[in-house]
Symmetry: C2
Subunit: 388 residues, 2 copies
């Protein structure tokens, strides 16, 4: 183990680590209706909003290197606390210098609290005032997450933005259950806030299922604590899109102007455009990378299923208007062949292109807000994307 | 389809294509015992031997981009005629501008004849004087490969070095069968030679199972035709290593000095060192990429199975003496985590490192030959690699 502690060739980000421990300051650069363009500095990087965060579940954005993320222009990614706590373990990562060093990513990392994965992946055993009791989806072992332990885990990971433990309610759910839940989620949020031993940023999470009054109440209760940003959770769980858009447009403007607003787990392009319009600044979703592996590619003219036989001899790039390396170097015919042949390069190239599209799309949305032309951008984007 | 023929952003290699249609001229730069250092120009690239060729079965070296191959320094890769003939089809690739354009690789491509895959992958139905009749491993459809058709296929692909159709014998096999087979393989080789309509290079293939006299006879018969190089096939099919080394040391020196000698399907580092010593110039094997996907990593100090728990918190690079991007940027602990998490990035990084190692190893072998120090290099390499 004495050899193991030297690691002479591996980069160390200790200088930058210190930077990340200062509170993020959200600067609002422009508004256009409720839509906002802003920025904050994190891990020595200026983060411009609205922003999409690629998901790096197991300390890697699937099929993509950190160099590629940088080349595309990403400065903030999401890591999954639940997965990393289970494997390789947050204490292992802490001893290896934290998640940034572990995965060789010297830019921003936001980690979720793991709560959502307990509900979606783990075998949930019990929710009590103390926390959530569940079994690991990997080996079935008994686990518990508490408001305090999720902070300790995220501090072990060295996350730049941590999330509080919350209960993610299904939609629909009865109102009494939902009311009790948001009260507990608020108490958990305060406990998470108090459990911090670091200067890492911490966001609260608004819940309340599809009840407008409970959502407002949840937001009001959370805002009594000085979180560094506020998220809206528990949406995009299968509910009607109009319900989601309605709740986001209701809640986002209630949240503090001077802090970032993060809509968790949302990343469909149409959803993002609608929610940017309501004042959301941050998004995350597995959509670009998961769809890529399934042969679904995003373009400004809509989605393409690359497996279709019409592309067998198609020499055109995936998107003639796209400047990414995939579109500059490969044909649709080649991308189809790789997909049909189940080649790893298919997942690589498709993921790269989709992540490029998401970055480009959010950059254009931001530019439109800065120029005061978001409504026109939205109209044009939806017209092209939905094949109008 | 009129749009499909424009492909304005895709590179065209027509200029280089023309270059590749000139006969390769093998220049012998140095000899050290039977070991040789040489070069030839292919597709506008100077190919230095001894050389290892990564295998790009389905028009991609698995998990690796062409840019990465170039970064590592590869100038010649192998494509599998059998696979490409079946999917997407050599005529499709021909209409798309050939294999170089299809996969965006503007360096050398050697293609095998597909014969080996018929024996190993397809359901072989019949071998006759005409050719091999088999069923596709993809959909079971009836197929036939003849000496003439494998040339047509490889010309459709635009291969820089084509291989003749040969019968790959099992070891052991009875001598009468083997003798009949090498006679037919020779007739097939002549037919392949005569079937050419292009100036693409064509190699003959020595067969003869483990019979020394038949191997010599096969070589003598083939050398009556003016092939551009000679391969030794049908080895590394499960026979004792000493048999392989013995046959290679017997046959390689029989082959023309002024033409490249290619040992097909061999790529184990120890095998390559031994066969370079006997005068082999070219190798190919799936070993570096297949082993990479199984977590087996090559270093000058031997193979590492990255899944082992001893690497869980190992901060060291995979190989402290390796300058590849993987070793410069990631720890063994991270590589183990990626492998255990079944992440695509694991296959990517492991493949990149292994291909780097193979390139580096062959470059060092070449340098040793140029310096007249191959025996010392071999002794040192084997001592380190086998953990002496």
């Amino acid at each position: 183990m004495s050899r193991a502690s030297s690691g002479p060739k591996l980069n160390s980000h200790h200088e930058i680590e210190k930077l990340s421990h200062s509170k993020l300051k959200f600067e609002l650069e422009a508004s256009d209706g409720c839509a906002r363009a802003g920025n904050f500095v994190l891990h020595g990087q200026k983060i411009e909003t609205p922003i999409f965060m690629p998901v790096g579940t197991n300390a890697t954005v699937k099929a993509i290197t950190v160099d590629e993320l940088k080349k595309i222009g990403y400065r903030l990614i999401l890591g999954n606390t639940y997965h990393l706590h289970l494997r390789p373990g947050d204490q292992v990562i802490q001893r290896l210098g934290g998640l940034h060093d572990f995965m060789n990513w010297n830019r921003g990392i936001l980690t979720d609290s793991g709560g959502f994965q307990v509900f979606s992946l783990g075998k949930l055993n019990k929710i009590s005032e103390e926390g959530v009791f569940f079994r690991s989806h990997l080996d079935g072992s008994k686990m518990v997450l508490t408001p305090e332990s999720v902070i300790a885990i995220q501090e072990n990971l060295g996350s730049d933005i941590m999330m509080v433990l919350d209960e993610c309610l299904p939609i629909p759910v009865d109102k009494k259950t939902a009311a009790e839940s948001i009260a507990r989620t608020t108490r958990w949020a305060v406990r998470s806030y108090q459990a911090r031993t670091s200067g890492n940023n911490l966001f609260g999470i608004v819940q309340g299922a599809d009840f407008e009054d409970l959502r407002k109440e949840s937001a009001q209760m959370l805002m009594e604590t000085d979180f560094d940003g506020f998220a809206i959770g528990g949406l995009s769980v299968g509910e009607n899109k109009e319900i989601m858009y309605g709740l986001v447009s209701l809640i986002a403007p209630e949240l503090p102007d001077q802090k970032p607003r993060y809509l968790m787990g949302v990343g469909d392009p149409v959803d993002m455009i609608n929610c940017i319009e309501s004042g959301i600044d941050m998004f995350d979703c597995v959509l670009p990378t998961r769809n890529a592996r399934n042969g679904c590619l995003f373009t400004f003219k809509g989605k393409i299923s690359i497996k279709q036989s019409q592309y067998t001899e198609d020499r055109l790039p995936l998107d003639e208007d796209c400047d990414c390396e995939v579109c500059r170097n490969y044909s649709r015919a080649y991308l189809r062949h790789l997909y049909k042949s189940d080649e790893i390069l298919s997942s690589r190239l498709n993921s790269y292109h989709n992540l490029w599209f998401f970055k480009q799309m959010l950059a254009e949305a931001r530019n439109a807000i800065m120029a005061g032309e978001f409504r026109e951008f939205k109209r044009r984007f939806l017209n092209d994307y939905l094949g109008g």
